[in-house]
Symmetry: C2
């Protein structure tokens, strides 16, 4: 938590354990950035409840699962501030003041929210909490004065929305206490599910979890989508859209070996089972140590909760600092 480092805000909604898609899309990047930046990693249980308000047990359970995942992949709680959103009520407080700075029609135009409303089939019965969650996200970003927020392309409108609110706050109260955030766009393209569908996700049932056992991973790899027309090993096969090769590109370290396998697959003479076995080895090389570390941490959940407690304390202190500045600007610093 040394200073002069730029601040990153990142995190996950605790709605399920993390999978290889998270690893490729964000965890890997966080590990890379953790020493260079002051990284706030939010376990966004309040946001998860906008979807799962009627299933809080699910959210509660996944908070610690995600913490296990974080620690297992090597996110260091001594250089990152890992914390639980609901324990920072200052975010709720700032959200309430931010709600005055955005119009209903602006929220209706938010493309990310529009998409998600459609995806989740909310339409007529859209919970107000879901409708205003971009404002809560703006509060997450603003309260920690994040300079950078890692996002996928589809999340860019959320950052724009947050910055609009931050600018409106600063201009309304003639101040510069809040800081606009820049998006840090992930270079890695999205990892497809094992069924070849565009996105690995819990709801699609096509994910390999960081917490999967060796047997589960092997079984999932063996069932992966390849080239449906590549029936016999001797025949030529397609690399494009072949999930096994997409994964090898994402996780394999021996690029030369992979290039050779691709060549052979294209001309014929390399069977899917052989490639899958190789991918399984590659994944095990990554997941094996993660699984071991995860097992260690799972043995002592109380200690992991202590880690979250310490991170939450630091996050809360910083949130309090920003909120006391915000209150001063809105003239609510009575006593």
């Amino acid at each position: 938590m040394t200073d002069n480092k730029k601040i990153i805000l990142t995190g996950d909604r605790p709605t399920g354990p993390l999978h290889l898609g998270h690893y490729v899309g964000s965890l890997q990047n966080r590990i890379k950035l953790q020493n260079e930046y002051n990284q706030y990693i939010i376990i966004a249980d309040v946001q998860a409840l906008t979807d799962y308000f009627d299933n809080p047990e699910k959210v509660r359970k996944n908070v610690i699962e995600i913490a296990f995942d974080y620690l297992a992949v090597g996110l260091d709680p001594n250089v990152n501030t890992i914390f639980i959103q609901s324990l920072i009520p200052e975010i709720a407080e700032l959200t309430i003041y931010f709600l005055n700075l955005v119009t209903v029609s602006r929220l209706e135009r938010n493309p990310t929210v529009k998409d998600e409303i459609k995806q989740k089939g909310f339409e007529r019965s859209l919970p107000a909490g879901f409708f205003v969650y971009p404002v809560s996200q703006a509060a997450d970003i603003a309260i920690f004065k994040a300079n950078l927020v890692p996002v996928g392309e589809d999340q860019l409108p959320m950052i724009e929305q947050a910055n609009e609110i931050i600018r409106k706050f600063n201009s309304t109260y003639k101040t510069d206490i809040l800081v606009e955030a820049k998006p840090l766009i992930s270079e890695v393209s999205r990892l497809p599910g094992i069924d070849g569908k565009a996105k690995m996700s819990k709801s699609l049932g096509n994910a390999i979890y960081l917490s999967d056992s060796e047997e589960e991973v092997a079984k999932k790899v063996m069932s992966m989508y390849t080239d449906p027309n590549h029936i016999r090993a001797e025949e030529p096969g397609n690399i494009e859209g072949n999930t096994v090769f997409t994964y090898l590109d994402a996780f394999g370290k021996d690029k030369e070996a992979i290039r050779k396998m691709k060549d052979q697959y294209r001309v014929g003479g390399l069977g899917d089972v052989k490639v899958k076995k190789y991918l399984n080895e590659v994944l095990e090389e990554l997941l094996g140590p993660i699984r071991e570390k995860r097992k260690e941490f799972s043995k002592d959940p109380a200690e992991v909760m202590n880690i979250l407690k310490r991170g939450t304390k630091i996050a809360k202190e910083n949130a309090e600092k920003t909120m006391s500045e915000v209150r001063r600007e809105i003239k609510l610093d009575y006593f």
Copy 2:
């Protein structure tokens, strides 16, 4: 703050000093109820900011003005809990969880909000904070477990909305920790402005303030709307819609004298000036002592802020208690 008393939640938005309309419509009633009930009186600065987010100085200034008014009319800070809304961030926190329990289309149908949107000319540029303020009000009510909320007829939909959310919370989380509130409908009809318009209000410029000087009151009374066709004292005049008589009915103690004046006014021989002078005496009897007490309190604003500080401390302790119950029900009681 003794127990077993039913809990009332009431209060005002600090957007201007209180006037005779407030006195008749609510203050009088609060004084009557203050010993029988455990009365929480909220100075709703957060709600005031949904309208005046770009003028926080106005809100800030009126917080203490309203406190002067409360104390001057005889609201006893030792039996009432008088507090400042923004200093109870637990309300914001509960609001965020309540937002998950109400749909956007339900908020759009709220008749009180619909009316106010029209009145304030918001329409297209409706701030989200204003749109969701019924949810914040539900949180105000729920967090103090209010049994009764004094309201005018036009505010009934707000109580219904709050109770819907409270029921939804209890049924979703299979609990009974939150308590539905009953409306306590004011028996007194609304006091018209001195111009005879239906409502005394700051924005219409037709109000007599509790903080007005003797001269200001006299001047306002002399300018009051009477019977526009009653030009000469000798001629008969109308009582109906005659604001001076409406005020006499509301504030005069000598009902017999007022009855006689009405009779004489109806048949002719009683001039407006004479009735107004009498009304001025009647109002002075009420306002004189209030003015004196107000002057005393204004001399020591620090002490008045201390009174608010003490009330706020009690309110916060109770809000914290409810929020820790709420967090337990939503499974967010991690540590």
